[in-house]
Amino acid sequence: MNMIEALNSAMDVALTRDPAVTIFGQDVGYFGGVFRATDGLQRKHGLTRVFDAPISEGGIVAVAVGMGAYGKRPVVEIQFADYIYPATDQLISEAARMRYRTGGEWWSPITVRSPYGGGIYGGQTHSQSPEGIFTHVAGLKTVIPSNPYDAKGLLIAAIEDDDPVLFFEPKRLYNGPFDGHHDKPVEPWSKHPASEVPDGHYVVPLGKANVVRAGGAVTVLAYGTMVHVALAAAQETGIDAEVIDLRTLVPLDLETITQSVSKTGRCVVVHEATRTCGFGAELAALVQEHCFFDLEAPIERVTGWDTPYPHAFEWEYFPGPKRVGDALRRTMEA
C-alpha cells in the first residue's frame, strides 16, 4: 500500500470495528477527499458515517467535540493544515481541555487528520507545517507518520485514543518516500519495505519512536518527510548517523532520544517547519537537559527558514539533503 491506501485502510478498519467512528470533512464523502484518503468509505459504510462538511474548519472541529461529548469517535479531515487556524479555538480551548476542565466527566476522543508540509508547489497556503503550534498545547497529542505501515498503525491508535489527536500527514510522502531530491523521480512506495501493510487491524502505539537507521556517529531527530531526507543525507555524506523517526511529538519518546544521544554524543534536529519556537527548539532543549555531559558538539537545527513558504523558491526554503548533510559534517567536525 502507498500512504493514502494505508490511511484509507486504517479508517476502513476503524469504521468496521467501532460503530461510534464517524468521518467528515470537506470533500471526504462521495468524492473521497481531494487526496483520495477516504475514497470508497462512504459507499461502504453509509452516508451518515462518512460525509461532506461545509467549508468551515471551526465548525468541523466544534461539531466533532460535540459528537465526542455524545459518545461518538469522530475522525475529521482538515483539507490542508494551512486551513486549520479557524479551528484552533475549538482545538486549544475546547478539545484539549475538556477532560481537565470537567474533572474527567467529558473528553474529546477526536482525531483531526490534516495533510501538511511542502514540496508540491502549494505556496504559503498549501505547504505549512504548523505542528509546533499544537505541540505547545497541554492536552493535545500530535502524531506524524513517515511511511505507510506507520501511517495505518498510528492512525488506528490515534482514532482509538480517548484524547484529542492531531494527525499530520506529510503530503509529499503520499505516493513515495520523497528524500528531498526534487529533481529526481520519487520511487514508489511499492519498492519500500514499509509498503507491506497488513489488511486488518494493528496499532503502532503513540509515544514510541523508531530507530530507522542505527549508527554511532551522530543522532538525527526527524519526523515525517524529513526522516527520508535525513536517511539520504546520511548515505550521501557517509556519516554513520543514527536516524530516529519520532512518529509522535506529544507524548514524546524521550528515552529513545536520550539513549541514542548518550551513545553518539552528537545531535542534529531536523524539521520542515519554521525554526523559531519550532518543535526542534524543544528537542534541542531536552537533549541538552538530559545529555549535556555526553555532548561533544553543539546541537544543530536544520529547519525551514523563518519566512512564509515561497511558491517559486520552495527548494531554497525546504531543508533538503544537502543542508542536512552540511549540518552532519559540521557536527562531526566540531
Binding site: T22, T48, A53, P54, S56, G58, G59, A62, V63, A64, V65, G66, M67, G68, A69, Y70, G71, K72, P74, P86, D89, Q90, S93, E94, M98, R99, Y100, R101, T102, G103, G104, E105, W106, W107, A138, G139, K141, D161, D162, D163, G207, V250, P251, L252, L254, E255
Partner: protein, 417 residues
C-alpha cells in the same frame, strides 16, 4: 490633473457609524424605543408549518402574560398549578442562590461570581419545558438550568469555592459548572464555542435516532463570533435536533446590543438566512419561554430540525462581580425596563389565578433563603477558595490526558506537590 481634481470634488457622504446606546450614566434612562406589543397578539403556528410562512415571527415578540398577569393568546401553555409553582420556586431559588454567592465573593471566600438576576425565566422555563435527558449547552448565566433540574446547591457552591468537594478539582473559575448527570455541559470562557458543539451533539443524537435533543444558549454579544455562524450552518445543513437560544439581555459587559448588530434587525432574524424557523419571545415571561421552548422541542423531536429563539430580556445587574455597570449605563435603567421582572410577573399571574398569595410568597422566600444558607454552611465546611480543606495540588497534573505521560510525571515531581 483635471481628473484628480474631479475626484477630490466628489461628495463623500459615508461616515463611520459607531453605535451608541440611547443613554449613558447621569442621563435619564429611556427605553421608549423598545416596542412592546400586547400579549397574546402573536399566532401560534403548528410545529410543522413551512418555515417560509412564519418568517414574521422573527420580528414579533411572543408574550403570554398581559399587564394584569393574565395568560392570553395561542401560546398560553396552560400549565398546571404544580408546574407553575415549580417554576416560581426554581426562579426564586436561583435568585436567592445568586444573592448569597455574591455576598460570599465580597467576603473574599471566592474569586468571582455572575448573577442571572432578571433572566431567571430564560433558563428555568426552558429546563422545565425540556425533558431531563435533553442536553444543555449553556453560557455562564444559565445556572437556573441546574437549579430547575434539582441539582444540589451544595455541589454548585463547591465548584464556586474550588473546595475539597469540587468535582472539577479547582480547575475552573466560579460558575463554570459541569454536570454530565444533569445534562449541563461544561461552561467555557471562550464565548460561543458551546453553540456549535451543541449542534455536533444533536447531529450525533440524530444519527442514533435518539429521542434526546440538544439546547444551546448564547448571548446576543457572542452572536458575532464565528461559532454562531458555524452552529447555524451545520444545524441547517444536517437538520440537527437542536434549540438555538439567543439570550438578548441588551448588554455584553459594557457594550449595548447595537455593537453586536442589534440596531439593524433582530437577533432572531439571523436564523432566517439559514432557513431555520426563528422566534422572538419575551424572555421575562415564564409562560412564553416555556411555550416556545416546547414548540421548538417538539419540532426537534419530530425530525423537523433546529429552531432559533431570541429571548428578549435585560441583564438587571453587572456582568459579574468584576463589573460596575454604573460606569456605562444609567443606574436606574433596570427600573424602566418595559418587560418587568420574571419572578414578579409569574407571581402576579399565580395570585390572579388564585393559586398563590403574598403570604405564601413571603414564606417561600424565607424557606429558600434558609435552604441556601444551609447549603452554604455545608459547602463552606468543605473549604473555601483560601481557607479550609482543599483538593491536593498534585491533582493539577491529572486529567490533562487520560493517562499521565512521562513528562507530566516528571513535572509533578519537580513541582514537589
Amino acid at each position: 490633473m483635471s481628473g484628480r481634481k474631479d475626484i477630490l470634488m466628489l461628495k463623500n457622504s459615508a461616515r463611520l457609524h459607531v453605535p451608541e446606546p440611547g443613554c449613558r450614566p447621569g442621563e435619564t434612562p429611556d427605553m421608549s424605543h423598545i416596542k412592546v406589543p400586547p400579549a397574546g397578539e402573536v399566532r401560534r403556528p403548528a410545529e410543522d408549518t413551512d418555515p417560509a410562512e412564519i418568517r414574521d415571527l422573527a420580528w414579533a415578540l411572543i408574550r403570554v402574560l398581559d399587564d394584569a398577569g393574565d395568560p392570553v393568546g395561542d401560546w398560553n401553555p396552560g400549565l398546571s398549578a404544580d408546574m407553575l409553582e415549580k417554576g416560581l420556586r426554581a426562579m426564586m431559588l436561583t435568585r436567592a442562590y445568586d444573592a448569597r454567592m455574591v455576598r460570599v465573593q465580597r467576603q473574599g471566600k471566592s474569586s468571582f461570581y455572575m448573577k442571572s438576576t432578571g433572566e431567571e425565566a430564560v433558563a428555568v422555563a426552558a429546563a422545565l419545558a425540556l425533558e431531563y435527558g435533553d442536553m444543555c449547552f449553556p453560557t455562564y448565566r444559565q445556572q437556573g438550568l441546574l437549579v430547575a433540574r434539582d441539582w444540589p446547591l451544595v455541589d454548585m457552591m463547591n465548584q464556586v469555592y474550588s473546595n475539597s468537594r469540587d468535582r472539577l478539582k479547582g480547575r475552573q473559575m466560579p460558575v463554570f459548572y459541569s454536570s454530565r448527570e444533569a445534562g449541563f455541559f461544561s461552561i467555557s470562557g471562550n464565548l460561543g464555542t458551546q453553540y456549535s458543539q451543541a449542534v455536533g451533539w444533536a447531529m450525533a443524537s440524530a444519527s442514533e435516532s435518539d429521542s434526546r435533543i440538544a439546547a444551546a444558549w448564547i448571548g446576543e454579544g457572542a452572536t458575532a463570533e464565528g461559532d454562531f455562524h458555524y452552529a447555524l450552518t451545520f444545524a441547517s445543513v444536517y437538520q440537527a435536533p437542536v434549540i438555538l437560544n439567543i439570550v438578548n439581555n441588551q448588554w455584553a459587559i459594557s457594550s449595548f446590543s447595537g455593537i453586536a448588530g442589534g440596531e439593524r434587525t433582530t437577533f432572531a432574524s439571523r436564523g432566517l438566512g439559514y432557513g431555520i424557523p426563528s422566534l422572538r419571545v419575551d424572555g421575562n415571561d415564564f409562560l412564553a419561554v416555556y411555550a416556545v421552548t416546547r414548540w421548538a422541542a417538539t419540532r426537534a423531536r419530530s425530525g423537523l430540525g433546529p429552531t432559533v429563539i431570541e429571548l428578549f430580556t435585560y441583564r438587571a445587574e453587572g456582568h459579574s462581580t468584576s463589573d460596575d455597570p454604573s460606569k456605562y449605563r444609567p443606574g436606574s435603567e433596570a427600573a424602566v425596563w418595559p418587560l418587568g421582572d420574571p419572578i414578579e410577573r409569574l407571581k402576579a399571574h399565580m395570585i390572579g389565578a388564585g393559586l398563590w398569595s403574598e403570604d405564601r410568597h413571603g414564606q417561600l422566600e424565607k424557606e429558600l433563603e434558609e435552604e441556601v444558607r444551609r447549603a452554604g454552611k455545608e459547602s463552606e465546611s468543605y473549604g473555601t477558595l483560601k481557607e479550609g480543606a482543599r483538593i491536593p495540588a498534585s491533582t493539577m497534573f491529572e486529567d490533562v490526558y487520560k493517562e499521565m505521560p512521562p513528562h507530566l510525571v516528571e513535572q509533578r515531581k519537580q513541582a514537589g506537590v
